[in-house]
């Protein structure tokens, strides 16, 4: 059943479908970003995918179209899934990275596209209200791009200085590795001996 969906897409759009695969039963079609809106409309009307489960971005820093927009679609009536991807943006992500908005097909795409814009800086053309969703408006950059330094914070309130506080603010002690979860956080030499 599932292969038929990809067949339908291929017969309808021909060369605009760049590649397809059905690994582990997940039907995936990589499509031409210029045809994004058309393909999605086809999925909504002909394939009856009435539910947009998720829409997000992926950053592959060493691929040439660097960013990927991924949409997961589901048909409640026909009970089939399809995943549609489009690859956009050059290596340096110069200028605007744009793709069509699908918010007029599925209303839920409104917030999903806002999140994708917030995290990856992908502009969705025709989106009714493309603002940041999770980060604050003062935030500069797009944190899920691989070239954003993960630890770089942009505080909204000025931090207190150590003189004001009268104690070291970058404390790790006695918050040692045994407490809570030890992964992820930097562990400094000698930290384990405390507590």
């Amino acid at each position: 059943m599932s292969e038929r969906i990809l067949e339908k897409l291929k017969t309808r759009f021909g060369t605009a479908i760049f590649e397809t695969h059905s690994q582990f039963g997940d039907d995936t079609a990589v499509v031409d970003p210029a045809k994004w809106h058309e393909v999605m409309t086809f999925c909504r009307t002909e394939l009856e995918c009435d539910m947009l489960t998720d829409l997000c971005g992926v950053d592959y820093p060493d691929r040439e179209p660097r960013l990927e927009v991924v949409a997961h679609l589901y048909s409640i009536a026909k009970r089939h899934h399809v995943r549609v991807k489009a690859r956009i943006g050059d290596r340096e992500l110069e200028g605007d990275v744009e793709i069509d908005s699908v918010a007029n097909i599925w209303p839920t795409a409104n917030w999903l596209e806002r999140e994708t814009f917030d995290m990856f800086g992908i502009k969705f053309k025709g989106h009714p209200d493309l603002r940041r969703l999770l980060m604050y408006p003062e935030f500069v950059g797009h944190p899920l791009r691989k070239d954003y330094p993960a630890q770089k914070t942009q505080p909204l309130v000025e931090y207190r200085t150590e003189e004001e506080a009268g104690l070291p603010l970058d404390k790790q002690l006695p918050f040692g590795p045994d407490e809570g979860m030890s992964f992820g956080r930097k562990v400094f030499p000698g930290e384990g001996e405390a507590s």
Partner: protein
Amino acid sequence: MGEVTRQVTLEGSQTGFATTRLDALLGWARKYSLFQYPFVTACCGMEFMALASPRFDMARFGAEAPRFSPRQADLLWVVGTISQRQAPVLRRIYEQMMEPKWVLAFGTCASSGGFYDNYTTVAGIDKIIPTDVYVPGCPPRPEAVIDGLLLLQDKIATGDRTPGIVKPREDPASIGNVNGLVQLQKKKAAKGDRP
């Protein structure tokens, strides 16, 4: 009616008066009537509920009445992760509280950012507001929080505003173990050794 012939002299505690310093009296009164404002943002809130419920019963320490207006509270519980976006709100809440006021950092996230070492989390609320007591743990056990509350009461009674950190209680299973880790293998019983 006979005349009073015997002169009675009362001494010390028999006079019916107690002399004390005003600040000590105030400290005594304050430490048993903490009105708390719970600023609950994340998973630590679950442990906060356990603490406030009858099994651990914070009311025993005179801290049972949460106030949902910062103007009526004098103890700010920061329970959970504080994101950069929330930082101005937390600062505002703190500024709205009346003097004298105290702040308790509940959990590793509030104390030091925990394992969230990234662009979105404030690594410790003391970067924004002065903090009196830190309770490490992810989440801390209610016993640890009660330790923190008692530590805070001590500090209030003595007028001590230096920050204090709750020491983890010794895990009985780890006594004698340098790394503080629980050893799972059974100890070999020596002959004639009582278990």
